[in-house]
Amino acid sequence: MLSYILRRVVATLPVMAIVALFVFSLLYIAPGDPAVVIAGDQASPEDVERIRQSLGLNRPFLVQFGSWVWRILHGDLGTSIFTNLPVSAMIGQRLGPTLSLMIVTLLLTIVVAVPLGVVAAWKAGSLIDRVIMGFAVFGFSLPVFVVGYMLAYIFALELEWLPVQGYTPLSSGFWPWLENLILPAVALGCVYIALVARITRAAMLEVLQQDYIRTAKAKGLGQGGILFIHALKNAAVPIVTVIGIGIALLIGGAVVTESVFAIPGLGRLTIDAILRRDYPVIQGIVLLFSFVYVLVNLMIDVVYTLVDPRIRY
């Protein structure tokens, strides 16, 4: 198992290298000359040239890429053109809120969606099933910002149960932290819950038709034992896959959600960096997200082997 994980980590290196090359090329693919943008509207051509020289933007592409990679390997993501702060420090500041939002959303999804899917499959065709699947379609169809503003209007403005927006770090207490995350997590999780519930239902329906479920019934096992011991674990592979794919959805969704609820996270940082054409920051964030995604995929593959003894590498 350990050697398998090691082999997989090594195998991700070329993927990361290609991602890095692509991320670095962003600077050249995107329209607009960064030197001109940084210099501002009033700058003279001489000023622009000076900035270009100092940032090394005039050197050959491969040389720039090489020195960029070299610096990244030493933990240096560069310096923001706009704030003159190190990119790694800027990301570090914003990591907490985004990570909190994603983890809460992920937990909420698993706790809500999987049982809903199991119940829908168990009672397939019944009223409960149709209600659950109806909600799932609803969850799919509504954009995050619509759900977000609706939730904020109902629960924060009208009922005043929860804060409208903002973020409190975990160090200031668990409840204040969670209180601020509930509405964003629900808004962000809607699509995700719908997706996972539907996949869980489909996977469970398939498994419940298998012969070994009939065997479990023939043994006299109770409904709970059949559903959770025998069926759910067999249905786990597609469910785990979708949860993993969903993490990519969360990254995209977090950008929008953080804007709606004014959470000072990576999503907001991304938008600000894009608007300012702050290339080092954009590159750092995209690189980080890609890294997380590769890591999640590796974790999914490892979970497969834990769930299903037939999968061996």
Binding site: Q210, D211, Y212, T215, K219
Partner: protein, 556 residues
């Protein structure tokens, strides 16, 4: 109160389908005494399994008991609910199923699966349940039971999986065991071992057993009483001897006639209306190949090794002439399917050569063989007609596909004529051609598969267990069809099967394989009547023979 353990009284079971309610069981009445083994025999759709499932209360959600009673120890099973039902299931009454590998949870160690059954019904610790599970594995004679406790189903053979199923079923000492086709899909030798074990266990524990099977011979060997079902009703109930010597009902007579025995001939299986046409074919003299004609197929020292593993097939040589039929028999894992696939050029041999009609084809890569002009000449009929037809292709498309791919025909009148001609030759009604596989019966699908294979007029047909998934009466028709095609069109047949009775009937010569090597070969009848090796003798003896009396369960 009577002494019957189980008494089924005028049972009716219906399934709700898209086309309304369909009655699967229509008034079944039967009794089982304690410790008795009853055979419930019938073809697919006869309602035998549904009767079993109704008794153990394992019917699908769509199925419902619509009438009658099932009295188990005087208690009506159909009215049980909740905990009362669960006390019955697995404890007083248990069931084993067809396809044991699928019946076991693929991701749960088998020791745990046995312990599940014990823990459901007994208030004992997990350690005690584990110890009992180990004892059960010993009782079903699994070698090295300690190590097997942690094994998963995919690590065990089909026969082993069925033993595990038996261990689960007997874990709480039930009074009644319902075995639904317990050995279908297993080798003849494994079938014998598993059935002997089941009979011994039932006898030792005084457990009544209902053996549900489509195989009359099997039921005759192990049961003293056999009930025959047709279309939801029991048409006849008798001792095996009476059933075979003097079947009363017309259906039983047909069933007995269609069951191949050691002495039956293909023409015996033919139904009355087809006999005339068949006799005409039989009367036609076989063209004798001129002396010195090279064989149609010559296989030289063929071998196949899959990655790192030991050889699946080694040093396999054979020859076949046009119009000849050769059987390839052996237990599963003997390499018979691998060999047939290599000859068909679906997989590549590791060593050796295949010469077809004077041309070496063993070195043409299998992925390129479809471009060879000889692709038309070598065709294959696959085991499972359900799995080997594309569900999105109609019967017509299926038969037309090889014609357009290999014969270069274009869609149009000529193609339609050729397809219809093929369908007629295999006896497939033309109005079925626009149908999709799921709208056809098993026998009809088998005919589509054969029609597809003969569409391009091949000279060699390789058949991999073509009738294994079919009922005996359908099997009889298909065998007869194959034999007729061979005689009429001079098609050579390479017939892979584990059913020795069928091979004996259909094939001029037989090759016996074991662990990838040829054990014995020769003229079929001589080979089976006088096997020269112990292995062949074991295979022959394992065939359930209808003539022999039922095996008397010991200690009764």
């Amino acid at each position: 109160m009577s002494e019957d353990l189980l008494r089924i009284d005028n049972l009716h079971v219906a399934f709700s389908t898209r086309r309304g309610m369909v009655e699967a069981v229509r008034g079944v009445t039967l009794t089982v005494k304690a410790g008795e083994m009853l055979g419930l025999v019938g073809e697919s759709g006869s309602g035998k399994s549904v009767t079993g499932f109704a008794t153990t209360r394992l019917l699908d959600a769509a199925g419902r008991v619509t009438g009658g009673r099932i009295l188990f120890r005087g208690q009506d099973v159909t009215k049980l609910r909740g905990d009362d039902l669960r006390q019955l299931q697995g404890a007083a009454m248990s069931m084993i199923f067809q396809n044991p590998r699928a019946a076991l949870n693929p991701i749960r160690a088998i020791g745990l699966q046995i312990a599940d059954a014990i823990l459901t019904h007994k208030r004992i610790s997990k350690e005690a349940a584990r110890a009992e599970a180990l004892d059960l594995l010993r009782a079903v004679q699994i070698r090295d039971p300690e190590a097997r406790m942690n094994a998963y189903p995919h690590e065990l053979s089909g026969g082993m999986c069925q033993r595990v199923m038996i261990a689960i079923a007997i874990s709480c000492n039930p009074a009644l065991l319902i075995a639904d086709e317990p050995t279908t899909g297993l080798d003849v030798t494994t079938q014998k071992v598993v059935m002997d074990l089941l009979a011994d266990i039932a006898a030792a524990r005084g457990m009544a057993t209902i053996l549900i099977t489509h195989d009359l011979g099997l039921a005759a060997r192990y049961c003293r009483r056999i009930a025959v079902m047709e279309r939801g009703r029991i048409v006849e109930e008798a001792s095996p001897g009476a059933l075979f010597s003097a079947p009363q009902h017309a259906y039983t007579r047909r069933l007995v006639a269609a069951s191949p025995t050691a002495t039956s001939r293909i023409e015996d299986l033919v139904t009355e209306e087809e006999r005339e046409r068949y006799t005409a074919v039989l009367g036609k003299p076989r063209p004798v190949p001129a002396h010195g004609t090279p064989p149609l197929l010559e296989v030289r020292k063929l071998a196949k090794r899959f990655d790192q593993g030991s050889a699946a097939v080694a040093d396999f040589s054979m020859t076949m002439s046009g119009g000849e039929s050769v059987g390839l028999v052996g237990e599963s894992g003997s390499g018979k399917s691998t060999t047939s696939r290599m000859i068909c050029r679906l997989i590549d041999p590791s060593e050796g050569d295949i010469v077809f009609d004077g041309q070496s084809i063993g070195h043409v890569a299998s992925r390129d063989f479809h471009r060879s002009p000889l692709r038309k000449d070598i065709q294959m009929v696959f085991q499972d007609p359900n799995e080997s037809l594309n569900p999105r292709f109609t019967a017509f498309d299926c038969i037309a596909h090889p014609l357009t791919r290999l014969d270069g025909m274009r869609a149009g009148e000529a193609l339609r004529k050729r397809v219809e001609e093929c369908a007629e030759r295999v006896g497939l009604p033309l109005d079925l051609l626009p149908r999709f596989p799921h709208q056809l019966s098993g026998g009809q699908k088998a005919r589509v598969g054969i029609a597809r294979a003969i569409a391009c007029r091949p000279r060699l047909l390789v058949l991999d267990e073509p009738t294994a998934a079919l009922d005996v009466s359908v099997q009889a028709v298909v065998l007869q069809l194959l034999d007729r095609l061979r005689r009429e069109n001079d098609i050579a047949l390479l017939f892979v099967s584990h059913d020795l009775n069928v091979v004996r009937m259909l094939c001029d010569r037989t090759i016996v394989l074991r662990n990838g090597g040829i054990v014995e070969q020769g003229e079929s009848r001589a080979l089976f009547d006088n096997p020269k090796t112990d292995y062949t003798r074991k295979l022959v003896e394992a065939i359930p023979h209808i003539e022999t009396g039922p095996k008397l369960a010991a200690a009764l």
